[in-house]
């Protein structure tokens, strides 16, 4: 049996070197950001020894940068830090809401967008929200960085597109234009502390008349991985986001969903509720966009 190890690299090169070295020798390494999923797994389902590579000491993974054209959020930035960033919350309210929904205040002190994404849970709250705002994953590897749309990153329940030796550096999001806004809603049985039974993120752009010119809809917890629902966006674009359009988008989400029945909800229930969430989130995004 191998042994556990812990390294906290202080540079990107050092981090990549550790990961590559492990990849090359078939030794297990796992990246640690906030640890709110990793430590739970260590306690239960996956106790196998490995080297834990803490990426919180890297400048890149801790960076939050809001530019005129692009927002960058480092993979290890805790949700609480995002939530306390008023400028970010004003610009991407839906994404920040989603980050604010990950677990308790305590969890938010550690959990990051990057970790939520890499954990690739079908129910990860921030993933549909990131899909809605067309976030792009910035992935570091020994041959440089590569980029990938966030909706392609999760490949199944608990699996992602990272290759051996790679890790997620952060997320890039186009700075929303005027009269654009996003919203995220999820359904849980309690008011807090639950895993989403269904989730939906919506972003919309309106023209001067209030007609929707662009939209993206992401759904979570209703399929093996979070999904971009193009049909839902199509139902919104060109409309004034009236009840009929919202209902059509909701119906598209229900159709796109392929949920399972489990301890958190039935297949039928999830399919219905994701439509309700889509309608409500799209209305919230619309109202925000109109107010901008």
């Amino acid at each position: 049996m191998g042994a556990f190890g812990y390294v906290a690299p202080s540079s990107l090169d050092e981090a990549l070197a550790v990961l590559s070295e492990h990849a090359d020798h078939g030794k297990r390494a796992q990246v640690l950001a906030g640890g709110t999923d990793l430590l739970v797994q260590l306690r239960g389902v996956d106790r196998e020894p490995r080297t834990i590579v803490d990426i919180k000491k890297l400048a890149e993974t801790n960076r939050v940068q809001i530019g005129a054209s692009e927002v960058f959020i480092g993979a290890a930035v805790p949700s609480a830090v995002l939530n306390e960033n008023a400028e970010l919350a004003a610009l991407l309210p839906g994404l920040v809401e989603a980050a604010d929904l990950i677990g308790s205040t305590q969890i938010q002190g550690r959990a990051s967008l990057g970790g939520n994404l890499c954990n690739a849970s079908p129910a990860g709250d921030t993933i549909p929200a990131m899909i809605a705002v067309a976030a792009v994953c910035v992935i570091a590897g020994r041959s440089g960085t590569r980029e990938m749309p966030v909706e392609d990153f999760c490949t199944g329940v608990g699996s992602n597109a990272l290759e051996a030796g790679e890790f997620l550096l952060g997320l890039k999001i186009k700075t929303p234009a005027a009269r654009s806004a996003d919203a995220y809603l999820r359904f849980i049985p309690r008011t807090e502390m639950d895993i989403a039974v269904a989730g939906c993120g919506v972003s919309v752009t309106l023209d001067g008349s209030g007609t929707c010119t662009a939209a993206r809809v992401g759904i979570g917890a209703v399929a093996p991985r979070p999904l971009l629902v193009a049909d839902a966006a199509t139902a919104l674009v060109g409309s004034r986001l009236d009840e009929a359009a919202l209902a059509a988008a909701g119906a598209a989400c229900s159709r796109a969903a392929s949920p399972i029945s489990d301890k958190r909800g039935t297949e039928d229930y999830r399919r219905k509720v994701v439509a309700v969430l889509c309608r409500r989130a799209a209305a919230a995004a619309r109202d925000r966009a109109l107010a901008r």
């Binding site: 906290a8 640890g35 709110t36 430590l39 677990g103 205040t105 002190g109 550690r110």
Partner: protein, 159 residues
């Protein structure tokens, strides 16, 4: 298994300890350092009994590795009272009978401190959502919320 040496600060005191890389900060606090004021209710971040502050940030110590404490400042329930006596939050929890069995109390006091440090005048909804990660099975939260409200008042206008 090789242990890692960690230098940290707990409640303002320099502390060095050895731990295994996969050991949690909670485990180190309780079993290695015998700082048992921080409680374990679940070990999976769902109950908040193990709440501590790391550099002033509220976290579950069961979801932090001991090795991650290197170079950081940890505040636990043992560090809340001062030479002057109980912290007003502690005093108000007592006065309002906001604890029955008391196992969740250390975590709730730490979480309340982190709330009031940020927001000196939270409304009831803010208090309830901030404390949603601290499970209490005895009180129904009523008296806890009242204690927090009263502690906020006391901190704003010390009697």
């Amino acid at each position: 298994m090789s242990k890692v040496q960690v230098s940290t600060s707990i409640n303002g005191e320099e502390v060095d300890f050895l731990c295994e890389p996969q050991q949690t900060l909670l485990d180190v606090l309780r079993e290695t350092l015998s700082r048992t004021g921080t409680k374990e209710g679940c070990g999976t971040g769902d109950c908040g009994a193990c709440s501590v502050l790391v550099d002033g940030r509220l976290v579950c110590s069961c979801l932090v590795l001991g090795v991650e404490a290197q170079g950081h400042e940890i505040t636990t329930i043992e560090g809340i009272a001062t030479d002057e006596g109980l912290h007003p939050i502690q005093q108000k929890f007592l006065e309002h009978a906001a604890l029955q069995c008391g196992i969740c109390t250390p975590g709730l006091i730490i979480a309340t401190k982190s709330l009031l440090d940020r927001d000196p005048n939270p409304d009831e909804t803010t208090i309830r959502y901030w404390l949603a990660g601290n499970l209490c099975r005895c009180t129904g939260y009523d008296k806890i919320v009242r204690a927090v409200q009263d502690a906020a008042k006391e901190l704003a206008h010390p009697a």
